[in-house]
């Protein structure tokens, strides 16, 4: 009984830290998006609130909380409130299995850097949660009693489930190589002592491209932002949302972007590993300094990817819906299957 309490307490502390980091990173992503898009379009961007406009996202959230939640006529009130809750909750839950650094040792106690990074369901949990995320969007579209919302929600769910297949197959190839669902195992496998890179991106270049494309589609970002194609659907599934309910979808979208970047980093870009053995620069395995260095490396990789997401959004035009479906079903799915077969032959060849 006592043990359960201690484990829950430790998990709760870590969960609150990770949650604050996640919400902070969502705020930073919003700021980055506005600033980078402004620079790309030769504008200045937010610069009034705080130094360089850095406090803009926080002010935005406060404003959204103070606004009125309008529930349209004929909407299903319960589902209309439930949908943003699902979206945001799922975006947060995914972090339960994402590690941010190697475990550190304080005294005799080994602290895992992550809420449950060694859980043997790691990737399965992430896949399950992204599937649940579809419910939030489909329910938002249906419950609003608005034609634009309904179409946006349908488009979005069809798109997300189509690309989920290729994503699952790309992840399958990684699992074939690593033989584990746990994300820390997958990262440790990409670490090599002799100074070279054993990142999965070099072993799985095709899988990386497939995963990157599906990550864009899963987060509903350009060039796959069909659900919110303004010219056709006003704002898609969140047309009838205002106030913080809209804010929750907004937060979830940016949190998902950070999460996707984190997963890409963990699966393909070596996670938090240094390109050489930590002892080469005098860092012992298990010290908190090494943990901090690894966390910073991980965060830098995530933010470079987030900036890539933003850069693509403001550079590449949007797909047409039939093109999107053709890419998902006729190009990515067979490619992912092919990649899986090639990988399994490779694994068999190395092991026997």
């Amino acid at each position: 009984m006592n043990e359960i309490l201690w484990i829950s307490l430790e998990a709760l502390i870590k969960a609150i830290i990770i949650l604050s980091l996640l919400l902070l990173s969502a705020a930073i992503s919003v700021y980055l998006e506005r600033k980078l898009s402004a620079w790309i379009q030769l504008r200045i961007g937010p610069n009034r609130v705080g130094p360089f406009g850095l406090l803009q996202p926080i002010v935005d959230v406060v404003k959204l909380i103070m606004k009125e939640d309008i529930v349209p006529n004929g909407a299903n009130k319960f589902l209309h409130g439930l949908a943003p809750v699902i979206s945001l909750a799922v975006a947060i839950m995914v972090w339960a299995v994402i590690p941010v650094a190697d475990p550190i040792k304080i005294g005799d106690h080994i602290i895992q850097m992550g809420i449950s990074p060694n859980a043997d369901i790691g990737i399965l949990f992430i896949l399950a949660m992204t599937s649940v995320g579809v419910y939030g969007i489909a329910l938002a579209g249906w419950s609003s009693n608005n034609k634009y919302s309904l179409l946006g929600g349908l488009r979005s769910s069809a798109q997300m489930i189509s690309y989920e297949l290729s994503m699952g197959l790309a992840i399958l190839s990684i699992i074939l190589i690593s033989g584990s669902f746990s994300l820390s195992d997958i990262v440790n496998q990409q670490f090599s002592h002799w100074g070279g890179f054993r990142w999965n991106i070099f072993i799985q270049p095709l899988g990386f491209l497939i995963f990157l494309t599906t990550a864009f589609a899963e987060t509903n970002r350009a060039p796959f932002d069909l659900p919110e194609a303004e010219q056709e659907l006003v704002s898609g599934y969140n047309t009838e949302y205002s106030g913080m309910r809209f804010g929750m979808f907004f937060l979830a979208e940016y949190a998902n972007m950070a999460t996707s970047s984190a997963i890409i980093t963990l699966l393909y870009l070596g996670g938090w590993t240094l390109p050489f053995a930590p002892s080469a620069i005098g860092l012992e395995q298990g010290t908190w300094i090494l943990g901090l260095v690894q966390f910073v490396i991980f965060a830098i990789k995530i933010y470079l990817l987030v900036m890539f997401f933003i850069w693509v959004r403001w550079t590449v035009p949007r797909f047409r819906y039939d093109q999107l479906m053709r890419l998902g079903w006729k190009v990515l799915l067979p490619l992912a299957l092919l990649n899986l077969i090639l990988t399994s032959f490779g694994v068999l060849f190395i092991n026997h």
Partner: protein, 118 residues
Amino acid sequence: MLELYLPIIVMVVLGVVVALVFLALSMWLGSRRATPLKTTTYESGVEPVKTARERFSVKFYMVAVSFIVFDIEVVFLYPWAIQAGTLGIIPFIAMIVFIIILFAGYYYELKKGGFEWD
């Protein structure tokens, strides 16, 4: 066992609680001045015609059905993938046959036009 799964449950509960807190905050702090005009659904400025709970294109159902078929077949691959390094040659051949059957199903649906959007 416990230390692996209990933290996940804690995070799941925390995620739901945080989302509900945001919802409650906006209900508590947000203003409430709904007028009949404000609560009409948005339809580009004109009065809404009928309800939105209409029938919609069958193509979305097609996508859902294809997804279920292929997703279940992909799920079957996971237990094999995690053990593939230790299992040896016979399970490998079995799985290659399975993937070929999967691909045959895919090819059939492709030729039947199941993936056409127009």
